[in-house]
Symmetry: C2
Subunit: 379 residues, 2 copies
């Protein structure tokens, strides 16, 4: 297995206004994306990969001038990898509102000539899917072999199956959920409050002040990070290990877990945009496709036509196995074709990003079967 | 069952310096306490109740001038209640470093003439127990019928059983643990970071600036609160309920769970001291009586003489049932008398404060048996 190698991000400008779920209109916007592999003649081998909270269009490979900047799903996507780029044409797209290139709060609002800041409209999972569909139009892809993602990315894949049922053969949603729980929303809320109450946030317009709400972002990331790891994994990796073998009776770093969280928080707050964090956590909160059907997920999924692969991880307490099972049940109620595995892995929610043989074998065999379908249809 | 009625807090000044676990010395200090019921002639009916993170000496009853200020364990302690004050003499004591009367960071440091602030020494569970033992000396109580507490209060009860094995007949530790997990420490750490990085914290010396780090305290409390409730309970109470029945596509309060957390955070940050929050969470982190015995809790508990009651709650994910079972196992290894129940209750960690028939019946029957022992010894 090798990497897709050096890759280049591309962008497309969209001039047709996009009406968002909120009613707001984005007059024009740019989407940044990357592709790996080759689109076949009948454009039947395209896989769209949707990203989660802090990821981007940079799914696989590296950049010529940044050899250590490896794509976030490089272990999954590449030549000979579970999503085999020798066979498939894989697209990674950066979502609207993100801070990695696609139009977001840090970009100039053409109406004001200043950064959008607090004026950037709230975007939803469904809005992202709309904008991704336009990207697909431009790329000439009528129907994806699969739309695929983990966590929030899985929500986008699910939304694709409901909003554009005829435009995907397969929907692959890993460690995902059809709606956040109260506890999920609570964690997002606290993270947002840390940012919103940071004096350096300036109501979202901090760009003009030459500051960033680093402290708020840092705390937000630390909270998030706790929910990505399992209790068991954290105990095994860090336990009560002390940095220096003894207590110093103060509030500096004593335990290894503190050091780890500070490192994660510091790193994140040095590159991530605070407004983007608010936007993406809100998109998570809002996603609830069953809501218009009185909470009946079976009815919400009734119009889907795709075949589905779902996977969850036994120690994921953020989007638990039960959340995936609820989707599987609703799909079975609708007599959809569903493959589902609950994978016994210790790494909590983060497991969807990690290399785990059983998990990768599952995806590999599913995607291999997708390829057989394509070959059979081709003959 | 009636209340203990109107109560009065008392205080005792201690002039003998207290050497803390850190090596620091507190030259003199005040402990505030309350008592309910009557100490019998041979002083054999005293129960010491130790408090948890945000509680105090005000365990039961109310204050004449504050009729709505009900003690935090009023459902547990009173005439005819599980801890029956018609039989027992119950003492609630406020810990050193707290913000409810006993000497703490907001009090004047006699050496500087200014509030202690960041200079207040870090106190441990063991330090609290030392100071409580001095209070017992002053009150003439050689041996408690029981030392009792929930959560952090249960840790103090456990520490009593190890540090002063001859001074308690019974140790009652509810929803407690012999050590925090990495995840527990992680949550404490994030809460502390929210306070430490609040510009209004001023390194702990905010008193001089006429401000309090409200934002940091608020976030800290919200994080804590999520860990006190169970996922199930939160889902049942709040679910995805919206404040106004629809989305507003912004970052204001949308969900009922947000409203609830903000209320809890706002309330807490209006009365709780930020330095106290740091101190108490650090005391939680540090507690690990098995550490000097290479993590062997059985050896740590070998010197205990008390009989034990332990209880945990099935949905408590902060201090899980497994944490209580580890203590039970270590006590049984030492052939101690142990009563233990894992109570099926939906309310998470907070269950130890709530009225639950099975839980209260358990404590009641245990404390009734304690009373029989006292009567038998008296004859």
């Amino acid at each position: 297995m090798t990497s897709v190698g050096a890759v280049t991000a591309r962008s497309i400008d969209f001039d047709e206004p996009l009406r968002l779920q909120s009613g707001a209109l984005i007059a024009n916007y740019t989407l940044v994306y990357e592709t790996y592999g080759t689109l076949n003649a009948d454009k039947s081998n395209a896989i769209l990969i949707c990203h989660a909270l802090n990821a981007s269009h940079h799914v696989a490979g590296y950049y010529e001038d940044q050899p250590n900047n490896i794509g976030w799903w490089d272990n999954m996507v590449g030549p000979g990898k579970p999503v085999d780029t020798n066979r498939f044409f894989v697209i990674g797209v950066n979502n609207l509102g993100s801070c990695f290139g696609s139009t977001g709060p840090m970009h100039i609002n053409p109406e004001t000539g200043k950064p959008y800041g607090h004026g950037f409209p709230v975007v939803t999972v469904e809005d992202w899917v709309q904008s991704q569909a336009r990207l697909a139009d431009v790329l000439g892809i009528r129907k994806f072999a699969a739309v695929m993602g983990g966590s929030l990315g899985g929500m986008q894949a699910l939304a694709w199956s409901m909003m554009f049922p005829a435009r995907l053969e397969h929907c692959i949603a890993i460690a995902s959920t059809a709606k956040l729980t109260a506890q999920n929303i609570a964690f997002n809320d606290v993270a947002r409050q840390a940012i919103l109450t940071d004096p350096d946030f300036h109501g979202g317009d901090f760009y003009a002040y030459g500051v960033v709400p680093k402290n708020g972002l840092r705390v937000a990331r630390m909270i998030g990070h706790i929910t990505y790891l399992s209790n068991v994994d954290m105990s095994e990796k860090f336990g009560r290990m002390l940095r220096s073998g003894q207590y110093h009776f103060g509030f500096g770093v004593e335990f290894e877990i503190e050091s780890y969280l500070h490192y994660q928080g510091d790193k994140f707050s040095s590159y991530f945009d605070a407004n983007t964090y608010l936007l993406i956590t809100r998109a998570l909160d809002y996603f609830d496709p069953a809501a218009p059907y009185d909470g009946d997920l079976t009815r919400a999924l009734a119009g889907t036509q795709a075949k589905f692969l779902l996977a969850s991880f036994t120690t994921d307490w953020r989007f638990s196995s039960d959340a995936s099972r609820a989707i599987v049940k609703a799909l079975i109620d609708n007599r959809r074709e569903v493959t589902y595995a609950d994978i016994d892995a210790p790494h909590g929610h983060d497991a969807f990003l990690l290399t785990d043989e059983r998990y990768h074998d599952l995806v590999r065999s599913y995607v291999d079967r997708m390829w057989l379908e394509i070959e059979e249809r081709g003959n």
